[in-house]
C-alpha cells in the first residue's frame, strides 16, 4: 500500500507527463487515486461556487466523468489541479446558463449573491464542539453573503493556496481582474465579519 501511494504521489506531483498518458488511456486506477487525492479540495471549491451541497455533489461526480472524457486534452505542462478546477468551473457555469439562459450566471454577475450551504446534513454535534461550531456557522453564514465571484477567488487563493496566474487560468480572467476581485472580496468579507453591510 505504501509503495503504491508513493508511486502515485510521484505520478501526480512530479510526473505530469505520466499523468497525462494515464488520462489519455483512461486508466481507472489512476482516476481512482485522483478522486481520492482531490476529493476534499474539489468538493469544497464546488460547494463555494455553487452554494448548495446537493448541487456540489452532482457537480463533483460530473467533473470526474468530464475528466475521463477530456483526459486527452490535459496538457502536461499545466498543473493538474488548475485543469481540474477549470473543468469544474465550466460545468457549473454551463449548468447555470442552461437554467437561466436569459441572464448572466452567478459567477459573472458581480451583484448576485448566492447563499451558501456549507453545513452537512448529518454532521456530528458533540457538546464540546457547540461553541466553536456556532462561531463557524456564523462565519459560514457571512461567507455565504459574499458574491460568488469573490468567494471563488478567495477560496482559490487562501484555501487552495493557488498562485495568481493559476487562479487566472481557472477562472479564465486576466491576472489584474483576479487581483481586483481578491481586493474587493477581502474588503467585503472584512465588512461582513465586522457585522456591517458591504
Amino acid at each position: 500500500m505504501g509503495a503504491t501511494t508513493c508511486f502515485f504521489s510521484g505520478v501526480v506531483s512530479d510526473d505530469t507527463q505520466a499523468l497525462a498518458r494515464a488520462l489519455r488511456r483512461r486508466d481507472p486506477e489512476v482516476l481512482d487515486r485522483l478522486i481520492e487525492q482531490y476529493q476534499y479540495r474539489l468538493f469544497r471549491y464546488l460547494l463555494y461556487i455553487s452554494g448548495d451541497r446537493e448541487t456540489a455533489e452532482d457537480f463533483f461526480q460530473e467533473t470526474w466523468v468530464r475528466v475521463l472524457d477530456r483526459g486527452h486534452q490535459y496538457d502536461s505542462r499545466a498543473k493538474f489541479d488548475t485543469w481540474l478546477f477549470a473543468i469544474a468551473r465550466h460545468l457549473v457555469i454551463d449548468s447555470q446558463r442552461r437554467k437561466k439562459p436569459q441572464s448572466f450566471d452567478a459567477l459573472t454577475d458581480l451583484d448576485q449573491k448566492s447563499p451558501i450551504d456549507l453545513v452537512a446534513v448529518n454532521s456530528p454535534s458533540a457538546l464540546d464542539l457547540i461553541t466553536s461550531r456556532e462561531v463557524e456557522l456564523s462565519i459560514q453564514e457571512r461567507l455565504g453573503r459574499l458574491p460568488a465571484i469573490y468567494r471563488e477567488v478567495l477560496v482559490l487563493r487562501f484555501q487552495e493556496d493557488m498562485a495568481l496566474d493559476e487562479i487566472a487560468t481557472v477562472v479564465g480572467a486576466p491576472v489584474p481582474t483576479v487581483k481586483s476581485r481578491l481586493y474587493r472580496g477581502l474588503q467585503t468579507l472584512r465588512e461582513l465579519l465586522r457585522g456591517g453591510n458591504p
Partner: protein
C-alpha cells in the same frame, strides 16, 4: 494626517495578503500602523477575516468519492463498448466498400440488364446503381450521426 496616507495604508494591508509588498513598503506600513489606530483596526479586521476564511471546514459527504469512482467506472465501460461498436462499424463499412469495388463491374451489368428488361430510361438504373454503391456509407453516416446526437443529448442532461 493626510487622507492619501490612509488610502495607501489600506491598499498595502490588502496587497500584503493578496501578493507581497516590498520591504520598504512593509516598514512604512508598520510605522503607520503604530501611529494610526484606525488603520491598525483595519489591519486587525483584515487579519481576522483571513483567519476566519481559513478556519472554515467543509464536511465531506462520506460516500461521495466512491459514488464518483463508480460513475467513472461505468463511463469507462460505456466508452469501451462504444469504441468496440465503432470499430465493428468501420470494419463492416470497409468490407462492404471492398466488396462493392470488387463487384462493381458485375453489379453495373446487372443493373443495365434489369433496366433493359423493365424498359426504364438509362438514367434511372444508373441512379439505382449509384444508390446501391453509396448505401453502406449512408447507413454508417446515419448511425454515427444518431450516436453523436444521443451523446450530445445525454451531456446536456
Amino acid at each position: 494626517m493626510n487622507e492619501d496616507v490612509h488610502v495607501r495604508a489600506e491598499r498595502l494591508i490588502l496587497e500584503n495578503h493578496v501578493e507581497h509588498i516590498s520591504e520598504h513598503e512593509r516598514e512604512w506600513l508598520d510605522r503607520h500602523l503604530e501611529a494610526c489606530t484606525d488603520c491598525d483596526r483595519v489591519a486587525g479586521a483584515t487579519e481576522e477575516a483571513m483567519r476566519s476564511l481559513c478556519a472554515v471546514s467543509v464536511p465531506f459527504p462520506p460516500s461521495l468519492a466512491s459514488r464518483a469512482q463508480l460513475r467513472v467506472y461505468l463511463r469507462i465501460e460505456e466508452l469501451q463498448r462504444r469504441g468496440r461498436h465503432g470499430w465493428a462499424l468501420w470494419v463492416s463499412c470497409g468490407l462492404s466498400w471492398g466488396l462493392g469495388i470488387a463487384s462493381a463491374r458485375y453489379v453495373w451489368r446487372g443493373f443495365e440488364w434489369a433496366g433493359d428488361q423493365i424498359g426504364i430510361p438509362n438514367v434511372v438504373w444508373q441512379m439505382g446503381f449509384a444508390l446501391w454503391w453509396a448505401l453502406p456509407a449512408l447507413v454508417a453516416a446515419g448511425i454515427l450521426l444518431i450516436e453523436k446526437l444521443r451523446e450530445g443529448w445525454s451531456e446536456t442532461q
